[in-house]
């Protein structure tokens, strides 16, 4: 029997204080962003800017295509059961920017692929003037977004599909569809996926928002003439001219509008009668070979994805210790630790990254636990859209509001301001990660503890939190990884006075310091992976399963 979540420990006053502590900066930031967009001349200059329309088209093209491909690949992989979860944490831990930098090292005209094929297959003895990265069609950007969003969508889908009640029900329904004449593949597309898709609404919205509005990845691998609208907005926001700043804010709002329209259109498309007709048009003859080949293809997609990640991480690792490396040699002439010495020499950067991530993840986790413990369930439901707002608002718009908040509260260019910005960014991820396990906790255990004479704190400290240790540790690791990956808030709220490994990696990617860029990007991946590994170790059950 599935137990309903009851919160005998609900404490509305405490929950109110918790909500106020987060809602105040969130609403303030939102209002700041709204105010920044209420500038008629800025809108006029935005609409008359010759770059706007093409940049908007590029944003829509790259954002929509990458979100669609990521969704389709996720559905394709989920068709056949795999032992997916063990692969997802290390893939999820790779920050988008680090992945983009690594992919550039693989795809660039002087990158690994062309070196491996030259000169024997291509005849090239110098890097060709090809746009294999930062291509005008945004294909590199699309590739990064698809490769990064598929693990996230898989993780979100599996969080639902691996619930014992859901898994058993779905398995039975698919089996039933087989007995009605459907192949495994047909059963999945008509019975399984239509029921999973509505559960992915929030993650899909987050993916769409991210893909349409991403800045750091687009700076590394996206088109440049013109760039996507998010990058253009970011460039305008950094301009010394206040009028250009206002135009940047208007561009950010335009992106938010496009996101809203796209989300609405996609939602309507999902509900189109066409799909219902496809579900019910009856089954055609199917064969055992079809089921077998689809299983192979599904495993192939997953293997290809994992291979790309391995290639990217290898490229970053080797790139970070590369010395003299003339084209088309596959192996560098010399190896050097100079880049790593530079990284370790800039200890302030590493320290800023670590303390920010630790402080943000700790506070986000503590707040989330307190909120889930004390807030009545209907409060949790109703405030969810507000608390997850940073996930779906374009980042470039969000930082405008955050900057205004920091200015108003005197936190601009301070560590406290940076910590607040990172905490607000981590919080929705930590909340979404912990919400399921925490609210699904068997409420009867609280009653058992009470009947044994234990108070609420003893129950929390000795029963509930130890049992939820794995989920708590994983949520902390997610918060840590989100903080490490922050680019725009760090630059904008910190006004360039605070460098983290992410800001260094992205800024260096535009220059020619290949080894140093790779070292920072590798570190950008290594830090979250270490914390994920530590979280997995700390969260491991003391009981060994036979």
């Amino acid at each position: 029997m599935v137990q309903q979540h009851t919160t005998p420990s609900s404490s509305p006053p405490a929950a109110f204080l918790l909500l106020a502590a987060v809602a105040l900066p969130l609403v303030w930031s939102l209002w700041g962003a709204v105010a920044a967009g209420l500038d008629a001349p800025a809108w006029a200059s935005l609409l008359h800017d010759p770059q706007t329309l093409r940049a908007l088209g590029l944003s829509a093209w790259t954002g929509l295509l990458s979100a669609a491909l990521a969704t389709a690949l996720t559905a394709w992989i989920l068709r056949t059961p795999h032992r997916l979860t063990r692969w997802l944490a290390p893939l999820l831990a790779v920050p988008h920017a680090a992945f983009a930098i690594g992919l550039v090292a693989v795809l660039a005209p002087s990158g690994w692929i062309l070196r491996a094929l030259s000169p024997w297959a291509t005849g090239l003895d110098a890097p060709p003037p090809w746009s294999t990265t930062q291509d005008p069609w945004g294909l590199g950007l699309i590739a990064v977004l698809v490769a990064k969003e598929v693990p996230f969508l898989l993780w979100a889908a599996l969080a639902h599909l691996q619930r014992p009640d859901v898994a058993q029900r779905l398995q039975q329904e698919l089996r039933l569809a087989h007995t009605l004449g459907y192949s495994a593949s047909a059963a999945w597309w008509r019975v399984g996926w239509p029921q999973v898709l509505p559960r992915l609404t929030a993650p899909l919205l987050a993916v769409l928002a991210y893909s349409l509005t991403v800045v750091d990845v687009a700076l590394v691998i996206g088109p440049t003439t013109p760039p996507t609208l998010a990058v253009l907005a970011w460039q305008w926001l950094q301009d010394a001219d206040p009028a250009m700043n206002a135009q940047g804010a208007a561009a950010a709002w335009l992106l938010a509008g496009v996101l809203l329209v796209c989300a609405g259109a996609i939602g309507a498309a999902f509900r189109a009668p066409l799909w219902r007709l496809r579900w019910t048009r009856g089954c055609a003859a199917s064969t055992a070979q079809q089921a077998h080949s689809s299983a192979l293809t599904s495993a192939g997609v997953l293997t290809l994805l994992a291979s790309v990640y391995v290639a990217v991480l290898m490229a970053l690792l080797v790139g970070s210790i590369t010395g003299h490396w003339p084209f088309p040699q596959l192996i560098p002439d010399t190896f050097t630790w100079a880049a790593w010495q530079s990284v370790l020499g800039s200890g302030g950067t590493l320290w800023t990254t670590v303390w920010l991530a630790l402080a943000s993840a700790c506070v986000a986790l503590a707040w989330t636990v307190a909120w889930l413990e004390w807030a009545p369930p209907h409060w949790q439901r109703r405030t969810q859209p507000l608390l997850t707002l940073p996930l779906v608002l374009p980042a470039v718009l969000w930082v405008v509001g955050l900057h205004r908040l920091a200015l108003a509260w005197g936190l601009d260019t301070t560590g406290a301001g940076l910590w607040l910005a990172h905490t607000l960014a981590c919080l929705p991820y930590v909340l979404l990660a912990l919400q399921g396990p925490y609210t699904g906790f068997d409420a009867r255990l609280r009653q058992v503890a009470a009947t044994l004479g234990h108070g609420p704190w003893t129950f929390l400290l000795q029963v509930k939190w130890p049992l939820l240790r794995s989920a708590l540790c994983a949520s902390f690791a997610i918060g840590f990884a989100v903080s490490v990956a922050q680019y725009l808030p760090t630059l904008y709220v910190g006004a360039g006075r605070f460098a983290t490994i992410t800001t260094e990696a992205v800024n260096l990617a535009a220059g020619g310091q290949r080894s140093l860029t790779a070292a920072f990007a590798w570190l950008q991946w290594l830090l979250p992976v270490l914390v994920f590994a530590l979280a997995a170790r700390l969260g491991r059950s003391q009981w060994k399963t036979p």
Binding site: T179, L180, G181, R190, W279, S286
Partner: protein, 211 residues
């Protein structure tokens, strides 16, 4: 159309669940399989319709009208099944759930079959209903209609009445047995309840291994 099942051995990696079981079920009759929990009743049904878990070993044969079907994939066997749970698809209406089961063909004919199936189970007023709004008994009848719309050559019943209250259970049992007889297909019913037995002469008890 008769169903013949011979199970020389049905086993998990750790133990044998069923051995030496032979059943021949005539068209229009319901054979009952009884036994304790863990005696392998549901695994027998899974072996017949081809949904046996990969870790289970099946040695034996399944024939429909003398034709071996045990090498066919589940979707090609045309053996229908009703589970304890109705398993109506939540994203489809009653009509869509039923259309899902009707083989591809002329749409008007398919719609007519759906409407007739609902008449057969006395649910014609619920064509466009959302399954979530139906009672347990109504859902069970829609599930029965769906199973029969696929034109199965045999029907397996995996404790389909166990979640219904006494009155509904009796009504549903009568309906199922009548439809099996009308369609002249063999049916194998797994149950814990002796009241479900259609014909005491057509009943097999599975013993839990080691007892």
């Amino acid at each position: 159309m008769s169903l013949h099942v011979h199970i020389a051995r049905l086993a998990t990696p750790a133990s044998t669940l069923v051995s030496g079981l032979s059943l021949t079920i005539a068209p229009g009759t319901v054979h009952t399989l009884m036994g304790d929990s863990g005696s392998g009743k549901s695994s027998v049904l899974a072996a017949i319709c081809g949904t046996l878990a990969p870790e289970l070993v099946f040695e034996g044969e399944v024939q429909l009208d003398g034709v071996h079907i045990d090498a066919l994939p589940t979707q090609a066997r045309r053996v229908g099944i009703l589970f304890q749970e109705d398993l109506l698809f939540a994203h489809m209406t009653v009509r869509e759930n039923l259309l899902f089961a009707v083989p591809r063909g002329v749409q008007a004919d398919r719609e007519a079959q759906v409407q007739q199936a609902l008449v057969d189970v006395e649910m014609s007023a619920y064509l466009h209903a959302n399954p979530a709004t139906l009672s347990g008994g109504q859902r069970a009848r829609v599930a029965l209609a769906r199973a029969l719309l696929a034109r199965p050559r045999a029907l397996l019943l995996d404790e389909p009445f166990s979640k219904l209250d006494t009155a509904l259970r009796e009504r549903m049992r009568t309906l199922v047995f009548a439809l099996v007889k009308a369609r002249a297909i063999p049916a194998l019913l797994v149950t814990h309840d002796a009241a479900d037995i259609a014909d005491p002469a057509l009943c097999t008890h599975l013993q839990q291994r080691g007892q």
